[in-house]
Symmetry: C2
């Protein structure tokens, strides 16, 4: 068995928290996979094991899907390894491939869990809307040729604010947890041909941001009216919402503890 049990992990002397950015394009999501498929977790654990001389088992704030990116993923792990925390960033980045970067490392209290201690998260979603695609953003945004009404998408986004049952935007494959979350901020902004959604909530259901964006884009295209968007939210039925937006536009931006 590669991984030790939870209690043995917690009996270790140190709890290390990392802030990680990655380009998810080459990976089958964050979560550890069985080779030859690889998750970002496989790569991070392998390099951390070399540095700490310990088996490493990461807990992560968000288990991003295949192709999804992160600016501010947070992970933690227990270790008996002795490397000083202020040397971790350079040591691990010297081993990691260029598409995964550890931005910060800190020693934290043993009670901290990147997954369970998270209070809220921010996801962003990027769209490139233009007559022709932008070759530099093909891996980093959803390309949409037809013009989008950003004002209508912004108006519809406001409906999401507050505490709601978000079942309409949960993938059918999602876990059987409560579908109730609180949305603190839902903004759609435009800078030239770049359109960005920003969702700040207490938590997110499986595929929730991509389903929200797919449905909001229908509003932007005039296929769905902003007040119909409110009905979709209130029906608590995945069948009513739009298609899942593609992975390459999504970023786990920030996690609050």
């Amino acid at each position: 068995m590669r991984k030790e049990n939870k209690d043995a992990m917690k009996a270790r002397t140190r709890n290390i928290r990392l802030l990680v950015s990655y380009d998810g394009g080459a990976y089958h999501g964050f979560q550890r996979q069985t080779l030859p498929v690889i998750g970002i977790q496989n790569v991070l654990e392998e390099k951390l094991e070399l540095i700490f001389g310990d088996t490493i088992e990461l807990a992560a704030a968000g288990r991003t899907d295949a192709g999804v990116h992160a600016y501010g993923q947070v992970v933690n792990f227990f270790t008996n390894g002795s490397i000083p925390v202020d040397r971790v960033v350079r040591a691990v980045n010297s081993l990691l491939p260029e598409d995964i970067v550890v931005r910060e490392a800190m020693e934290v209290d043993k009670t901290f869990s990147a997954r369970h201690s998270a209070k809220s998260k921010i996801y962003t979603y990027r769209i490139f809307q233009g007559e022709v695609p932008n070759p530099f953003l093909r891996r980093y945004a959803w390309y949409i040729r037809r013009p989008l009404d950003v004002g209508a998408m912004q108006e519809a986004s406001r409906v999401l604010l507050g505490t709601h049952d978000f079942s309409s935007f949960r993938a059918s494959g999602g876990a059987h947890m409560s579908p109730v979350r609180t949305m603190y901020e839902a903004v759609c902004s435009q800078l030239g041909e770049k359109i960005e959604f920003r969702f700040f909530a207490s938590g997110f259901l499986y595929h929730m941001v991509r389903n929200l964006v797919g449905t909001l884009v229908n509003v932007g295209l005039g296929k769905t009216m902003p007040d119909e968007f409110q009905n979709i939210l209130e029906m608590h039925d995945r069948q009513q919402a739009g298609a899942t937006a593609p992975a390459q536009g999504l970023y786990l931006y920030h996690v609050n503890y």
Copy 2:
């Protein structure tokens, strides 16, 4: 022989000018190569031949090197093909890989040459300077860890304005043309961790921008004083300048006719 001669090309009825953007990361430069190595020209000519039903031979404003990008490359070609010019952009983009995009197509006078009619060009060069690299810019900027003095780089850049012999910044492999060019604008600007150089000149020698940036970065690092930079320019000797900056930060931004 794949290509017809120049006179036969010019006897054709139409001269088509294209504005092209590409991510140069996967190509051995713009220029046509012998398979299995490919240049952007190979791909563009192949797709245009399918659309125009003609052998196509492109002339380009700038022959970008391996790994160098373009926002605004300009090419032209002669054809007898009958597709209306307003259908060319969508037709060719539907065949091209996502890292090459034709942004505009227009019918031009037979005297127009993307290469010989160019009056001036703008190149930009991007640097990402930060304590840790940015995984999203690894293919689109030069990563430099140590802080750079942008004011000193801007001051040194001003020395380049006007008409000069730029031999100090020409690669030894360059052609035996006159090394005299006129620099209209040379700017270094910073936005957070992103630093951008912008060079607007009557023309550029082989590797000139990358050699300028390599030398200016030495100024930014404090290895070369801004007044020494002036000496380097005036010595007309490639041995005096800094190393060639890496290809992935360079963009052919715009061509004026």
